[in-house]
Structures are given as C-alpha cells and as structure tokens.
Symmetry: C2
Subunit: 322 residues, 2 copies
C-alpha cells in the first residue's frame, strides 16, 4: 500500500505539498498540483488514508450563527466575515438561528465534535450554560457572564452621542425606543448611555421598551404613539426600529425631522433604496467582522486573549432625519 511519502517522492515534492493538494489548503502551483495528482493516480494512493489524514486535520470550517441573514446589518457582517475567513482558507457555515435555541445547541455540539473549528455568534438566546471559556467562540454584541470574548461597538458611547445629537437638533423630550432581551446584551448599553447623558444634561426623557423579539409591531408602535405623542426626538435601538417608526409616523402625519428628530443605530444605509437617509450611530461593521475572525483564529490556536470585550469606536452619521 502506498503512503503519502511515496506520492511525495514520485511527484518530487515534499509531504507537506502533497497534503496541501489533498486537503486543498494553501497555495500550490498548478504544475505542482498536476504532478501530485498524477502521482496519486499512478500509485493508486488509497482514498481511505486520504480520508483519515483529512479527518486528523483540524476542521477548516467556522460556523456563523445569527438571528437572520435577511437583516441587512447581518448580511453586511456576514459578507466581511466570509471574506476574512477565506484569506486563511476557512469556510463559513451559515446558521439562521432566529430565536430557535435548539439550532444553536446543535452547532455547539458540532464544535465539540470538531466538525467546526470555531463559532462566531450573534445570539440572543440563553445558551450560556452550554458555553465554556475554553472553546473557540467569539460573540458579537452579546456579552456573556462567563468570559466569552465579545466584539461589539461602543454602545454606551453611542447612546450618549445619540442623546447629544438629538438635543443639538432641537429635541427637548427625546425617547429611547428599544426591546429587552431576556439575557444581558451589549446592545442594552445603548439605553444606558442615552439615560446617563440625559441625566447628566438634565434632559426630560422617555424609555419605551417591550420584550425582544417584538413580534407584534402594530401593538408596539401604536402603544408608543398613544403614550408618547409629546416626544420630539427618538433614538431607536437599531436602524430597523427607526425606519419602521418613521414609516408609521408619516402615516399619522408626524413629520420627520420637523416634528420629531430620529436617530438610529447600525448605519447600514449605503444603498440607493434607503430613503429617507437616516441619521444614525454607525457601527464599524467591516472592522467588527474582521476583528471577530482574527480573534477567533487566535482562540483556535489556543491563545489567551487580553480582553473580555473589544469595544470598537462608533461615529454619528448625519442623515435627513435630524
């Protein structure tokens, strides 16, 4: 039975090169590749052994769990994550967990079985007890109480900045509009920053929240309009919430920004579709994606990371709604 060494000798290359050809990892010149493939054929190098060698290797697959790829913020994030993974020859496995914890548990199981090398996760489910510090997981936005590394934008600063920008635009009674996840999420700091800044500046303000995910949008927005018709500013927890608010407000004859100034969070608008152009707190999506991947690679290699949470800086982007 021929071995990988025989293949390497016949092809006149190193064992590493044969392995790279077999596993399709790393750069191999087309000519070299042809030579190796010819040697494999000539020696009838046993597929089972190939399979076993392949199996011995670490998986070159990373799972991305997110609520839904359909959301423009997540699809932008996924785009850059796949690109960054591809640079190191890793493949992306996509999981829309959309409020289905059992799907997330399944992927955690795959990680334990080495079918995936690591997980990048945006989850709002309570999977905390299934997650330990050692396993290569990077969380995006969600901050676990255990020390799972989290990459997020500076949500607290974003909340403060939004309050200041609303006031600067003329709002005297701004509202925070959001949802409450059952477990602590970094996104909650958007409200904290908003409230902190309002109190510091002595600004009257309103907090409006319902449990996440908000299934019944009609109730959510109708209640808001019924209860808080007097607010003249809205800081929405995401651009999606802001866009939905603006759409519904306009149907009630509330003009944005004349009657109510609106600021969102995410900054996903870079698109001829999106009107009006939202004033928003822009997350550095590309940097968040690439940072998450690079930190995950370090965890896969067994390194200890310096920090528990990586806060990336946000900016205010002026649009047409303030």
């Amino acid at each position: 039975m021929s071995s990988i060494k025989d293949v390497a000798m016949l092809a006149g290359v190193g064992v590493g090169t044969v392995s790279r050809v077999i596993n399709n990892t790393g750069a191999v010149k087309p000519e070299t590749r042809s030579k190796v493939k010819a040697a494999i054929e000539q020696l009838n190098y046993i597929p089972n052994e190939v399979a076993r060698n392949f199996k011995m290797q670490k998986s070159k697959m990373v799972a991305l769990m997110l609520p839904s790829i359909w959301n423009p913020f997540f699809s932008e994030l996924a785009y850059y994550i796949e690109d960054e993974l591809d640079r190191e020859g890793y493949k992306l496995m996509l999981c829309n967990s959309g409020g289905k914890p059992e799907k997330e548990f399944y992927y955690l199981d795959m990680l334990r079985q080495n079918k995936v090398a690591g997980i990048l996760g945006i989850t709002y489910n309570d999977i905390e007890n299934s997650v330990t510090t050692e396993i290569p997981i990077i969380s995006i936005d969600r901050h676990f109480s255990k020390s799972i590394t989290c990459v997020t934008s500076d949500n607290f600063e974003g909340g403060r900045l939004a309050l200041r920008e609303l006031v600067k635009a003329g709002a005297s009674k701004p509202a925070f509009m959001g949802s409450i996840t059952s477990v602590f999420s970094e996104t909650m700091n958007r409200r904290e920053g908003f409230v902190h800044e309002a109190k510091t500046m002595g600004i009257e303000h309103v907090i409006y929240e319902m449990p996440d995910p908000v299934e019944d949008k009609d109730t959510y927005y109708n209640n808001f309009f019924a209860l808080h018709r007097d607010v003249d500013g809205v800081f929405a927890i995401t651009d999606m919430f802001a866009a939905e608010y603006i759409d519904r407000a306009s149907k009630l004859g509330i003009r944005v920004p004349e009657d109510v100034k609106v600021i969102g969070y995410d900054g996903i608008q870079d698109h001829p579709y999106f009107h009006p152009i939202l004033s928003t707190i822009r997350q550095p999506v590309e940097e968040m994606a690439r940072t998450s991947v690079r930190l995950l690679f370090r965890k896969i290699e067994g390194q200890t990371l310096e920090r528990e949470t990586y806060h990336l800086p946000i900016i205010f982007r002026q649009g047409e709604t303030t």
Copy 2:
C-alpha cells in the same frame, strides 16, 4: 476494541440510533442520546472508527455560491435555502464568489472530493467546462449549455409584463436598462421578453446595456442620461438598477413617475427602509429557494430530473414608481 454494535447493545438501542447520535443526524430523544453517549464513554469506543464511519457517510453540507450575500435579493434567497436545507439536517456553506472564478473552482473541487454533497449556484463566471451533468449542482438564474438543472423565474414573461405595464402607465418610449454577462444567463430573457412585446405592440424602445458587472456606475448612468434623455419609461434588469436610476434621476430633476415610469425586477422590497416603493416584477424568492433545494436533494440521491429548466411564475407588483 469495541464496535458500534457493542455500544448499541450496552445502550439498549439499535445500531442506527448509535450512528444517528454519533453523526448528529435525525431525531434522537434526549434520554436515548444520553444513554448512547454514556455507553460510548464506558466502552471507550474508538474515535478513529467514529471518524471513519463519519467519513463513509455522505457529506451533509451544501455549498451556496453567490456573487455577494450583501445583496438583499441574495440574502433573502439564502435565508430560505438555509431553512429548507435545515429541514433535512443539511448545513449551508456560504461562498461569496463576487466575480472571483477561482473561488468557485475551489468549491467545485470540494464537491468532487465529497466534502460537500452538492452546490447551489448563482454564478456569472465562465465555469462551464468544469461542470458536468452528473454532479449535484442546481443553478439559479444561470442557464448552462450543458444540462445543469436551472431554477429561475419566468424572465421572458417578466420582460413582456414590464413592457405592458410601462405602456399602460403612459410610457411611449420605454428603455430596457441592464448589463450583459459574458455567458448566457436566464436574466437575459428579461430583455428578450421586453423587446418581443415592444415589437408585437409596435412600441418605440431603447436598449441600454454595458458588460456585467457594472463597476463604474457614474459612467453607466451618466451615459444613459446623456444618450436617452427622451425616454419616459425604464425597465431595469434588477431592483438595484432601478433604485440607483431613481436616486440619480431625482438629483437631475427628473421626477418618477411623473416624467419617467420605472419598473424593476426581483421584488425585494418588503421593508420600511425602502422608498419609494418600487413597481416591480416580483420573483417568487421563497419558492425558488425551496424548489432549488428539493431538486438538489433529488440529484444527490441520483435521480434524473424531468426538466432542464424550472420556470417559476412572476407577478407584477404595483408600487409608487409607475
């Protein structure tokens, strides 16, 4: 050395159940699962054998190649594809090929090596010579000359319908606005249907196209405005083209729909962000996604499909731009 039969006997279950637990496929009750796992541990059932058994199995992974997940049409499609794959326990591997044929070749290689069970592809690259009839690939929109099954919307009918709707809305000199892929794509039938209907009805019309992908948008749209200022209707090959046109037209003082009626293709707008609401030819995205997956499963099982191309019906959705 213990075998899978020993594990099954100790756990008091069938070999199939042990296999399902090991490979994480199919439904297994939590109690049964625990019993099997305990038996595996107690017998120190050899991981290599697990690996080999796993390897013997067909891969439960399907690769989705698309130009970019960032595009809202593709992210909606990906959402439903992942959902349909998940019903059968298949995982989705995501590849943004974005005009990089080498990335697509890489995935075709993975398919040959059984690292993926099948490929769903939206490609505009010329990978034709690397693809044969036997391998489980379903193409979306792209029609290969070889008999690779293609799932697409009824592009020809869509083009005809768009022309009729533009005329009905009052356009007397409508333009088709698109791009030309280097290989034949089903999307080209949008133009064919448009031209066919215009000729049948005796309507003066304009065809405006540049090679795909359109990198230099400024040149593309500026040329159009310079050459065809007299058109009073636009049928754009995708909603993205339509949105971009409307955005640029409004900056030049061209009013939509007063001066120019606009119809797009795709129907991705279901979103409070998107204004104005486009009049568009709506593709049945969910049905296209689920049909593609189910046809791929049949190909993976070695079945021969009845048809070469599956055309799914389109509808016209009235928006604010006609």
